[in-house]
Symmetry: C2
């Protein structure tokens, strides 16, 4: 028989398990002296005459694990020389409660075991970009491929992982379905004209020469038989799913060809977006605010090791940290404030001499300085600003009874600004149809209901025709949440491999 069962001695694959990570080793509260193997990179090493101390990290915890190696125990000078910062090793030893300060456990390398120290990958220490000395943010951006080796970036990546898993659990408990909406789309949800356009490059020889690519881009072919863009928001498509699955969410990349160079914008960023059929009819905005607040409070472990590691740079004594903590420690709900009241408060402060660059005026956008003043000074914590003027917000937000404002909110948090934006969606066919026509999003502004002409947005209007229930939703900027929770000033340090105008390393 030609077929042979290779590896017939393998354990049942469904039970296959990788060996524990350092996090798993430490959280298992292993008994002393049990033989333990860990794999990771040397973060720091101190070689003394008869003993060597090395901190090894596998990236699963902020601290790593200290290993203690005695010279007599079979370590050759050649081996010791190769043990430098950045080297990948597998160490086998006894896990004991550390007699030294600064760590609870340490790994003592076993006597006489030649395989106790195994070098998995040498590090060229002379050119290693991640030296122990303090590295500038800009330098690390240039060396993005290795910057996750630093404590800050690794903690940020674990924070993203932790928050997204918690978000997911919370949504599941509330009956939501996780969905995948398209990245390539025919529509530009917010109509800001800052979308990226896509086109195929023609099949070329495997070489990826830049000249070929550029010349192809000059003769675009509509791969999809119509112009295609990268999505700036998943909301409209999520609404389509809502009208069948009731409650849906996605955590997905979004794109904006924004030429902004601020610390709050990326060309590629991740958005958490959710849409659901409303449970309450009388106080919909409060339902969304309460949902969003509950979601964030549940999903952020504001006391985690990684959060502490991230704030360590600024220090726990700064006002910014205290304000962040208070938002989670205080049991009382975050403040709700109408846009009208917010402008009134801002105006009073302006009249009383607060040096705003822009005078607060009802009907105009809140500027960044206004938002920050509201959150940091006036409220001293997160604030939901609700019911903005109709002209400031997109066509899909539900028009309030007053005809001047829409049922929406922005959640503004201290030191970051707008973190979440959401609204009740306009479910009334006639009102929406009129607003879409005003925005030039329908081919027939005469509101001919029977118009069958194809339009990029016709389907969105039609959702209201076939059992469209009152519903609401929001979008949360994932990097901004990470920025707030980790006290990270620039969103470029809130994502592994950031992209912004002029910059795309890797």
């Amino acid at each position: 028989m030609l077929l042979r069962r290779l590896y017939s001695t393998a354990a049942h694959p469904a039970r296959f398990k990788l060996p524990p990570t350092i996090k798993q080793v430490l959280s298992a509260n292993g008994s002393e002296s049990s033989t333990t193997s860990v794999t990771g990179w040397i973060k720091s090493i101190r070689k003394q005459k008869n003993i060597t101390f090395a901190v090894v990290s596998d990236g699963t915890t902020p601290e790593g694990l200290q290993a203690v190696v005695s010279k007599e125990r079979g370590t050759s000078p050649e081996m010791l020389k190769r043990l430098t910062n950045g080297t990948a090793v597998r160490l086998t030893g006894n896990l004991i409660q550390s007699p030294g300060r600064g760590q609870e456990w340490e790994l003592v390398i076993q006597e006489g075991d030649k395989n106790a120290i195994e070098i998995l990958g040498d590090c060229d220490i002379d050119t290693y970009p991640i030296q122990k000395k303090s590295l500038s943010i800009e330098y690390l951006r240039d060396n993005a491929y290795l910057r996750a080796r630093t404590g800050q970036i690794a903690a940020m990546l674990r924070l993203r992982d932790s928050i997204s898993k918690n978000l997911s659990r919370h949504f599941e408990s509330q009956g939501f379905t996780y969905t995948h909406t398209p990245i390539i789309t025919a529509s530009d949800c917010e109509g800001a004209g800052e979308a990226f356009r896509i086109s195929p490059i023609q099949p070329t020889t495997p070489s990826l020469s830049k000249t070929d690519a550029s010349s192809d881009a000059n003769t675009p072919i509509e791969f999809f038989s119509r112009p295609a863009y990268l999505t700036v928001s998943h909301q409209l498509h999520l609404e389509s799913f809502t009208t069948a699955l009731s409650r849906v969410y996605t955590l997905s990349p979004c794109f904006r060809a924004e030429r902004s160079m601020t610390g709050r914008h990326l060309a590629e960023f991740w958005m958490l977006e959710a849409e659901w059929n409303l449970a309450t009819r009388c106080d919909s905005i409060e339902e969304i605010c309460a949902f969003v607040e509950g979601l964030i409070r549940t999903s952020v472990d504001h006391d985690s090791q990684d959060v502490k590691a991230l704030w360590a740079e600024k220090g726990m004594e700064v006002e910014e940290f205290k304000m962040f903590r208070a938002a989670f420690d205080n049991a009382q709900p975050w403040r709700r404030l109408t846009y009208t009241d917010a402008v009134e408060a801002l105006s009073t402060a302006y009249v009383n001499g607060h040096p705003f660059e822009f005078k607060p005026v009802w009907g105009e956008s809140l500027s960044s300085e206004h938002e920050r003043w509201l959150a940091e000074v006036y409220v001293g914590g997160p604030v939901f600003v609700t019911d903005y003027p109709i002209k400031l917000k997109p066509f899909y937000m539900r028009v309030n009874e007053d005809g001047k404002t829409v049922a929406c909110f922005d959640l503004i948090v201290p030191h970051v600004g707008e973190l979440v934006g959401g609204s009740v969606r306009e479910e009334r066919w006639d009102v929406l149809s009129k607003r879409m026509a005003e925005h030039g999003l329908l081919p027939h502004p005469d509101q001919n209901e029977d118009a069958t002409t194809d339009s990029t947005y016709q389907w969105y209007l039609d959702l209201r025709k076939y059992g469209g229930a009152p519903h609401a939703g929001f979008g949360l900027g994932f990097e901004r949440l990470v920025s707030w929770v980790g006290g990270i000033d620039n969103v470029r340090e809130c994502i592994g491999m950031p992209r912004w105008t002029g910059r795309m390393i890797m």
Copy 2:
């Protein structure tokens, strides 16, 4: 004081809960006669003289819930008329064990309660695209915005949700970090020249006129100061994270401007990709195969209601379903077969008269017919084909001792074909450097280690210079998994809003 605490009576937001979905109502095993409200769409309705039966679905279960409405109980004829297929309603009644067949529970509308039936959204039944009658797949593709109202598409979307959550749990238990790798990239991992190219459109007026967009595309501007593409794979970037976090994965969109019209390819598809530092040194390929098999077995609930609903169309008696079930019911590991043995088996079959279109030859790709024969006929289940010839596989796969093959595998499953592809990654600097130079991916094919010239792929090579440990990884086509598990013939029905050449609805 201007600021007022709106909604001061609101419950603590962290405790805010949406009312239960139909799935939650049914799985709570509620006691009879408790007052229950459900919200959803009427899927079917039977109006008899004194009684009306309506099945309501909120998209959280395949069956929905049957509601029973007696005419005497306050339902006006006008209201009854509006209750049609597709109407969104909120129904309040008593949940009782159903005396009828076909369902365990039913909702009996309460006597005298005027709010027992609330219409949330009327449905224009004359033009409603999702009529009860059987709808063709092509028709539903044209009406993508509403097709999740059908049982098949809704079940598929729930299946995606369920599998991705289970995958996530399994990865977490094995110490992996969920990461976000970039969508916009400078590199084309597989060098096939089938990437999409992106460019900004200049800010225009809010109108999204096609002419504007096209003319802008004719004068591309390098937003990132170098050509930018949509990623075809996240592997290379994941490897960068692996070299700091040890074990990482992502479930993320990938893109290919492939002009294929088969049922196995999409222009936008989701890939599950993982990379990790190997635990075993002696039998690395088996470690990956065992990991992948364990992951799939754990993450697929092959006996779920949704899986049954999806297979109902084909019927549980078909050979295809039996073969699918057996892969999960059988405790023995899925088969492993080297490429060499696979070609030998194919050749024997060919010589014995099996009518393959392409003659199986060592050194050439397995064609689709070869793969399917191996899985469906030769093995009768999933099969890992390992150790392909070096020339058939990309530059990053680890070269075996024989110098002719690479340490890789394809997991081939019956009726779908290739589901997963993975390999040990080449961790040896000198071997990788040579292979990259051969593929034209390095500026200096003379292997000058000190070359500092910038290159799109230089960082990938450099990962091996600074503690690069032996590691491995794989990519799993998410839609293909859904196709296999749900018995769905075309991947266009395995994603909510499919995109392929010439087609992008919505």
